[in-house]
Amino acid sequence: MATASPGRVPARAGALRARRGRPSVLWAVPALLFFAVFALAPLGIVAYLSFTSWDGLGAPTWVGGANWSRLLADRDLRDAAWHSLVLTVATWAFQTPVALLLGVWSAGRQRSRAVVSAVFLLPLLLSSAAVALVWKSLLDPNFGLVAELAPRLGFDDASWFSTPEGALTAVLFVLGWQFIPLHALLYQGGARQVPDVLHQAAAMDGAGTARRFWSITLPQLRNTVVASSVLMVVGSLTFFDTVLILTAGGPGTATTIVPLVAYRTGFEGFEMGYASAIAFALVLVATGISLLLVRVTGFGRMHSTREGL
């Protein structure tokens, strides 16, 4: 361990005192190295593998841009990209308003709200696998919850998974069920940080609840909206376990999304090179979108003002 030597007599006491007792930057090296080995280097290797042909066993052979030109011409992948896009946009449009509503509501400090919020959190404790399996059972057209509720709600047929739209809606709903609590928590934290003075001032000016929400709470939650949206967008572009378990991409290819294609290409088709190209393209798109969101909204400045303190 690096410790400051107490024996040295400081010539410039102020400057030295400032440095004494401070950890060396080397303390961050193990974490950095570990992260580099298991996350950064693999990203580099993905980039490299995307220019190779490799079955996962022998040595990769360099094929130049073959995977990338295949990627651009791949109709199945284009369909999957379309499904990913639809799912991402729909996820955002579905989850944001509900999470905002729940988060701002539960930010109130009443005991009843705390109890109800605890119920909202339950889905968060389940793993993706558990959530997907539970809903697969509950959405079962013959024996599930839906089979029982659908006729009462006026639907004739509860076989969601047999039509493309139904399956996509089911995926959208299950993802919402799983992730809305997380985003509601983010909004709850954000709403609690809104200074009371603002609400009091607005109330004195005669603003009602709705008016205060639109003019104070929502603008104050700007950063939270951006953070939550980035999480949602990146999340819905890159997750795949829920879909794998819930619909396995079906019916046909109706819910086959890009990460699922990448997974199957790599670990079922053993085309690691092409899978890497798809995965890397996905990272580029996801990073591009989140950077764009961060830039457009000025969110990036939040961290930089605090760095190096």
């Binding site: 400032a18 930057v25 974490a31 298991f38 693999p42 399996l133 059972s137 024996f143 069920w177």
Partner: protein, 276 residues
């Protein structure tokens, strides 16, 4: 709370909240109730009916079919990930906050950049790396990459927490002649314990619920973790919905128990931010 905050909200909001409460509570009720019913009763009565005969058979069955092993594996993975993450992230965050070097800001930026790397995208090289290390189909194969992907959030949480330690207290420690290690143990660790708890809970949940790394990096029964166990359970038992749901309930129980003891840390761990 000031009276101005306690204004009644329009009923639309209350209705919306109530609606979502139903959407969450009904499935949870259905899962719990169905898990104690016999399979025939479930098929007859549907998931909402009250059980006429309560049975523990589903739970016993799940416990007999490898479940304790999966539970043990998941626990080991979670413990390993938490230990590894804390051992790496605490000194890193401390150095980022206190080293006073220009490099430290850049270090933080590397981790922030890492937030944007989805595990899904690098799974092929991670698989290659783990095989090369001879770790394929071991619990360590799951622990190492899971811990790595917890680092960005945990470093971020810990730096935020450590920045809140007042400068004067560091100076007091330095005046006493304490080195950085002593300052870390005596000052930083106690004062940023909420942040540390948040990081620990976040990592534990990531490990407990992780699906992709175990799916790709392990294959045998002896290394199976809970989410994969559930996934296979479904293949094996097909239409035995009560059996499956009992297994799901069993997999959530440890988290629920932890929740009772550390609700606050759990909530901030879920969001992976704040800690206060």
């Amino acid at each position: 709370m000031s009276p101005a905050r306690r204004v009644r909200r329009p009923n639309v909001v209350a209705l919306g909240v109530l609606g979502w409460l139903v959407v969450v509570a009904v499935p949870v009720y259905a899962v719990v109730v169905s898990s104690v019913r016999r399979r025939e009763d479930y098929l007859d009565g549907g998931p909402l009916a009250l059980p006429d005969a309560v049975t523990a058979d589903n739970y016993l069955h799940a416990l007999r079919s490898g479940f304790p092993g999966y539970l043990l594996n998941s626990t080991l993975v979670a413990l390993g990930v938490v230990a590894l993450v804390l051992v790496l992230a605490v000194p890193a965050a401390y150095a980022i906050v206190r080293s006073g070097s220009r490099v430290s800001a850049r270090t933080l930026r590397v981790f922030l950049l890492g937030l944007a790397i989805p595990a899904q995208a690098v799974i092929v090289p991670v698989f290659l790396l783990v095989s090369q290390l001879g770790l394929y189909d071991t619990l360590l194969a799951v622990i190492l990459p899971t811990a790595a992907f917890c680092l960005p959030v945990c470093v971020l949480v810990l730096t935020t927490a450590m920045r809140d330690v007042p400068e004067e207290m560091y100076e007091a420690m330095a005046l006493d002649g304490s080195g950085p290690a002593r300052a870390l143990v005596r000052l930083v660790l106690p004062l940023s314990r909420h942040g540390i708890a948040t990081a620990a809970v976040y990592s534990a949940l990531q490990a407990w619920n992780g699906f992709l790394f175990p799916l790709v990096l392990t294959q045998s029964e002896s290394t199976r973790v809970l989410p994969l166990g559930l996934y296979d359970f479904q293949d094996e038992y097909g239409t035995d919905v009560p059996g499956l749901l009992a297994a799901v309930v069993l997999s959530v129980l440890p988290v629920l128990v932890a929740c009772l003891f550390a609700r606050r840390a759990l909530v901030s761990g879920l969001v992976g931010a704040g800690g206060k």
